[in-house]
Amino acid sequence: MNPMPFVIAAYAVFAVVFVYDAVAPWLQRRRVLAGLRARAAREARRRGETGGGAAA
């Protein structure tokens, strides 16, 4: 049995898993920061609508 397809498949799985492992936190961090920015913008808009948030 030619082992080369198994060697290639093993290294491909290794590469895919660890590329994903590196990229996933980076993407998640971008998503979290975008969510926080959107939340800050919503809060600022709400404060503007209620007259500057004097009661806050």
Partner: protein
């Protein structure tokens, strides 16, 4: 209080940890790639084929370091979990929970590459051998920890429950490690040992150890990257996080 203790206390502060880990990350990822590149080159192109296994031995240059890491990551997760449960340190909870998916990734790669090595060597992808089965149990333990953490609305309660499960699961680690000694398994006994040296040739040992070092450094990089995000999520209402979001900082 000496400088190291002071620094350790400072590390427990979320904004300090976020910045510290952010500065460390490029160096850790860089070092890991710098170690993995020669390991891959030596393992794939320079190391000789094994007299019994032939070319399929090349799979072991990734399989064995990942298998070691699957145990190391679990030990690190359980250790951080113990600190989190005993001293209630928030950062330890985050580190423990960040280690779980990384450990699961290493365990998954171990099982898949082992299976791909087994087909040309043993003639089968899988046997219910003690080593293989206990490694599969380890993967399920990682999934259990991740699932339990996410099952709670309150992430801190979820983390504490998951840390407890991680601690209970430690009993599986000696089973995985000593399975080839305790039972008569198809899986071979270990060829590299910290205590009794190695029975393999240096041309094969060097790429193996280089890759082991690379995967250790990668583990810390990946855990820090994930713990940073968890810090951001948990501290979402705090002023330093708002400032960071407002600035759109990449720090």
């Amino acid at each position: 209080m000496n400088a190291l203790t002071l620094w350790f206390h400072k590390l427990g502060s979320p904004p300090y940890f976020y910045r510290f880990a952010g500065r460390l990350l490029p160096w850790l990822y860089g070092a890991s790639i710098a170690l993995a590149a020669p390991a891959l080159w030596l393992g794939l192109f320079r190391a000789p084929a094994d007299y019994l296994q032939g070319e399929s031995v090349r799979i072991l240059y990734i399989h064995v370091p990942c298998a070691w890491m699957s145990l190391f990551a679990y030990l690190a997760m359980a250790g951080a979990g113990f600190v989190a449960l005993v001293w209630r340190i928030k950062l330890a909870e985050l580190i423990a929970m960040a280690a779980a998916p990384v450990g699961a990734a290493f365990t998954f790669v171990t099982l898949v590459t082992g299976s791909l090595w087994g087909r040309p060597t043993w003639g089968t992808y899988w046997v219910w051998d003690a080593r293989l089965t206990s490694e599969l149990v380890l993967l399920f333990l990682y999934f259990g920890v991740i699932g339990l953490y996410r099952a709670f609305d309150d992430p801190r309660r979820g983390a504490r429950a998951a840390c407890l499960l991680a601690l209970i699961g430690v009993v599986n680690l000696p089973v995985v490690h000593y399975s080839v000694v305790w039972w008569n398994t198809l899986h071979q006994a270990q060829s590299v040992s910290l205590m009794s040296g190695s029975s393999i040739h240096p041309s094969m040992l060097v790429p193996l150890l280089l890759m082991a070092l690379a995967t250790h450094v990668w583990f810390f990089a990946s855990v820090f990257a994930r713990a940073r995000i968890a810090t951001l999520e948990q501290e979402a209402g705090k002023e330093w996080v708002r400032e960071l979001a407002r600035a759109g900082s990449t720090a």
